[in-house]
Assembly symmetry: C2
Homo-oligomer: 160 residues x 2
Amino acid sequence: MIKIKIISLGKLKEKFFIDAAREYEKRLSSFCNFEAVEITPERLSENPTQNEIVNALKKEAAAIEKKIPQGALRIAMCIEGKQFSSEKFSKYINDAAINGRGCIVFLIGSSYGLDEALKQTADLKMSMSEMTFPHKLARVMLTEQIYRAFKILGGGTYHK
Amino acid sequence: MIKIKIISLGKLKEKFFIDAAREYEKRLSSFCNFEAVEITPERLSENPTQNEIVNALKKEAAAIEKKIPQGALRIAMCIEGKQFSSEKFSKYINDAAINGRGCIVFLIGSSYGLDEALKQTADLKMSMSEMTFPHKLARVMLTEQIYRAFKILGGGTYHK
């Protein structure tokens, strides 16, 4: 069973985001060894300077790095990334599994995104939309898309 | 105050989708006269034929049409539509208001989408992603984007 890990910055606080993510995580457990890891974001002042933001992203990147298993396929979620249809995304997941990648890691940054150097280490920069979504909602969206990918691969009526 | 209406097929059943939509609807009430209208989808057999689907979409379109105020700007949500960044989407909303459109209506179809003829009456076909999302999650995503659009227009730190 392939391992899939979402590493994201910040906790889901709202009950509706927690419950929505949990529902798709539960469904995913039939298809993969799924894990969601939450990293505590660095504290920033109310109007942080660019420097402050860059430094915080660096520290967050170091914390993220510790949570990425060796040899994992890294997918960094960022607005400038490549968009996939759900079908192409399921094929990407399937190809990774066929090529023997035992673990796929998705990285979701905070509202200031992800550290540039960390993004450069990614096998893929991926975007779900040209629109900016709150990272908590993005996590629910991504979890649903991973679930949908497995449903597409398995056939059936979930994805029409 | 501009009127914004989302007309969608099917009820939100899961509590987390209801609560998430309600949260953004509540926040939206400071910016616009917002209304969400749910249309009951046509019943289909378990493995519906193309004909059955087309007929159901036609009937649903007639029910949707009754709920669209005269003169409203019509935005049909469909995967082949145009994508916007959140900033450009907020500009589109603002331009519509400036041009005196008193009402903007967003149409979200069922899992089989929207009737073709209805789509042709739309002022804009819009997509949030190349990925296919459940229409319930799409409604939460759209409500958040409308809220974000007003926050962008008003300034502030919600959208960074």
